[in-house]
Amino acid sequence: MGIIVLYIIPFIYVIYYSLVNNAFTNKFVGFDNYISVWNNEYFRLALKNTGRFMLTAVPLIMLYSIILSLAIAYLSRWLRFLKSAFFLSIVLPSSAITLVWNLYFSQCPPFESLLVIYLWKYSGFTIMILTTALARMDAAQQEAAQIDGAGIFRRTFYITLPNIIPALLFSFILSIVSAFKIYRESYLLYGYYPDDSVYMLQNYLNNHFMKLNYQNISTAALSFSVLLYVIIAAVLLLEKKWRDSVE
């Protein structure tokens, strides 16, 4: 009995989302909407900017957190302290941060500003995931390699990194997702109508929200999420292929 009640709760939730989404797509079948949205120059601009931001921000944050996590794992004595220090940025509210940013760096170009704030704010999650994975790693392999004479760099590239691939993948996906959240900082810094260089899909969606243009939002939002899932699925597939080829 209890179980039935218990898993109705998540079900209601899932239905809640799926139903609402479906009600919309059902209402507006046909590709007319898609054609008009995809031909809209702002949508294209937004798509271009979002793509540009993703392509710079996600590799950057990955690189940054991998280097930092390796360094943190190396300094294992302070592991917990360091981990929590980097996690701090997750709980700090963005609206307080942008106040400081505005005071000192308001002259910075918007695209780069958002990039820095993104790195600052969301590296907490990725560093947390990577350091946890690093700490769980089997030390025996490392020792064996060390005895065989592999230097620290070779050990990092051939043993450490391949060992934490699942964690890398998860943090990669999370980074993509959190890159969308940058709208919050973008709004706080530049308001509803930012510079053309940071006019992203989120701005497009939100501005159509103001006009209550349901048709447009749902079409844009759907194209947007399909695109996102295609990217993520592609990454997961590539990883699987890669793993199969190794094994």
Partner: protein, 253 residues
Amino acid sequence: MKKKLLRGCFIGFVFAMILIIIAPVILTVALSFEDGGKSYINFAVWEPAHLHALVNSIGLSFITAFGAVLVSIPAAFVFAKVEFKGRGTLFYLYVIVMIMPFQVTLLPQYIVAKGIGTYDSLIALILPGIFAPFSVFLMTQNLKMLSNDVLEYARLDTSSIFHVLIYIILPLMKPAIICTSILVFSEQWNAVAEPLILIETFRNFPMAVILNEIEIGDVLGFSAATVFMAIPLLLFIIYNEELLDGMAAYQLK
């Protein structure tokens, strides 16, 4: 020698980065005292709008965190420990919703809020927050790490699954529960885009939105920001241990 140098580099690098993380906090606090604390008095006495927004934020975030824990414990229990058909698929659905950008989920939220008449009230923000898949995900991953033997022993000793839930699982899951509620709390505390869409009346706006209305460079803004930051910061410091333990399970599979 070479090793020592490398270690030194690592230490320097890591601590420089930590300084960058902490810098905005220190700056905000320092700037807020620029006029000797006068702005704090102004903030408390002359700005009822800000105070009201702060109360909004507190109520909003605490209720959401509490509700999210209430919902995610049973849901996570089912996902982690109860075998049923389609469990994997359902859990994947959760993950898919979890990684969905909030702009996409905002539209359904808006429609629902309009439909059930919660639009323009704090409940419109609280409900989606409570049912956010993130908390269920984190809780499930934590519960999966809990050994099945413990549960089986408990099942043999007591007859009801609810007894097990209350006397065994809850105490063991303390870090996960605290970690989840802090993350949900700070997410709600931080929300800017959601209130902008779901709330119309100025009085109902939370602090995160109001803070942005204060003029750039105004000392008042920084004292408000200090107060605003202090609450999640305090939670972070008090529950640091639990936060780290709870996050250790934040992995896919």
